[in-house]
């Protein structure tokens, strides 16, 4: 089946001014590849500052003016040019954004979901969308500040689902929701996928992602370090040491933090981005490490788990 979205060797960098008028090019995403087929939920799991949100903004063509994008993005078989991105975003490609700040603080919820339309059909659609996410009609006449954190998030999702999108990009849709609502929200993304859409789920929550994703890509410091079927993760088959560290940091799996922090943009060396924090680090990890296939998945590691050295 033809993929809905295909991202090939995507790199995103920013121009910043250093000292005086000297320009510095800051790479934030490097050589990212990703494929989403109809009916698939693909989760991109990574920590804050790893460039996950920028991936979403890159696909939608809403990166800031001082950014550069290289690589190829194909949407339904056609290159996704900036012009085409502008035409399809909001209808065929929708974004469920991360923060409540994406809501207009001076506009009531109802008109926001209807995007300003006033006809009876739009009214009906917005009510149905709200109802689907467990919100009553009275929510339509509330301003964003009157919503609780969880309600605001459901309003954001309702806004996106009021259209019939081919590709749904969900940027951290679950923080702030209680377990039941989070499961329900993710269930709705699953439904959208089962209806033939592709879903790109951007999240830091490995555990929740595994409950609905078909495929999972793990993102670290702007690079994918591992990609595999979700079933591999649930079976405890992890490939990259960073993925293992994420797993061990779950409150129910030991709550063990590894020391250090993710390198910022421009601080990543030539080798594996995780090497400086990796318990299995060796000198050769600091040279470029290729992204290679391993038992049905992809991994950027010289000494992955489960492979004999």
């Amino acid at each position: 089946m033809e993929p809905i979205l295909q991202v090939k060797d995507l790199s995103i960098s920013f121009t910043q001014y250093g000292r005086g008028t000297r320009q510095v090019l800051l790479p934030v995403i490097q050589d990212l590849s990703l494929t989403i087929r109809p009916g698939q939920v693909v989760a991109v799991v990574g920590s804050s500052g790893s460039g996950k949100s920028l991936l979403a903004h890159g696909i939608l063509g809403i990166l800031p003016y001082n950014s550069h994008m290289a690589g190829e993005i194909t949407f339904l078989g056609q290159p996704l040019t900036p012009k085409r991105a502008e035409a399809v975003r909001g209808t065929e490609i929708v974004l469920v954004p991360q923060g409540v700040t994406y809501l207009d603080p001076l506009m009531k919820v109802g008109p926001q979901i209807r995007k300003g339309r006033r006809d009876q059909k739009a009214r009906q659609a917005s009510r149905t969308a709200l109802k689907r996410y467990g919100l009553g009609e009275e929510v339509e006449s509330l301003y964003p500040f009157e919503l609780s954190g969880g309600m605001a998030r459901r309003v954001l999702i309702a806004t996106a689902a009021a259209e019939t999108p081919k590709l749904v990009i969900a940027d951290e849709p679950t923080p702030g929701l209680d377990a039941r609502s989070a499961q329900r929200v993710l269930g709705h993304f699953r439904e959208l996928a089962d209806g033939g859409a592709g879903v790109l789920l951007i999240t830091h929550d490995l555990e929740l992602a595994l409950t609905i994703a078909d495929r999972v890509a793990v993102f670290y410091a702007g690079e994918t370090v591992e990609e595999a079927d979700a079933a591999d993760f649930t079976a405890g088959k992890l490939r990259h040491p960073y993925t293992r560290a994420l797993w061990n940091a779950l409150p129910q799996n030991g709550f063990v933090p590894i020391p250090g922090a993710q390198p910022g943009p421009g601080e990543v060396g030539k080798g594996c981005p995780f090497a400086p924090r990796c318990p299995k680090q060796r000198p050769e990890c600091l040279s470029p490490v290729s992204y290679r296939e391993l038992e049905g998945g992809l991994v950027r590691c010289l000494y992955p788990e489960g492979e004999m050295v």
């Binding site: 804050s48 940091a249 709550f255 933090p257 590894i258």
Partner: protein
Amino acid sequence: MSLEAKQLTFGYRGKNRKRVLESVDLTVAHGERLGLAGPSGRGKTTLCKLLSGFEAPDGGTVLVDGKPLRDYRGICPVQMIWQHPETAVDPLMKLGDTLREGGPVEEELLEALHIQPAWLERYPAELSGGELQRFCIARALRPGVQYLLCDEITAMLDLITQAQIWTFLLEQVERRDLGLVIVSHNAPLLERLCTRIQDLDK
């Protein structure tokens, strides 16, 4: 010596006015870690706002170590860390200026939270959500704070950073004998962190 809420009642003003909290009691002692659970919209954040003085209750009182909260002047002894850090800072102020508003902050604290000195010269929109949240934690942990209210503060952070931040906060809480209130939907997290859990649904 404890942070006490007595029969707190509150509703937001507006035409859709309805009671968010009805006669809620809560006590946190120094060194205690209280978890607040309950579904969305049940008033967990509102309760934190009342406990830290961002809203005044319609009925009932908040006592900090026996003295009413409204009688305190200067830096509030009860500091709240918000769920959405981007709404908890002035977008038009450099982070360094925001931090200095409340007096000096220990260098070590910034270091322990991996806050780079360069960030302080930036505006909030130039940091990622997780970076901004770490900044807000540093701001709340100033000298003089007695109680810390954490409203779903790590929900947007990756697992390793979550574990790092909580390990750090628990150590601070112990060393400075703070009282801690933790709001979270993550049941395993509350189980692991708290000495006691209060469910607002009951």
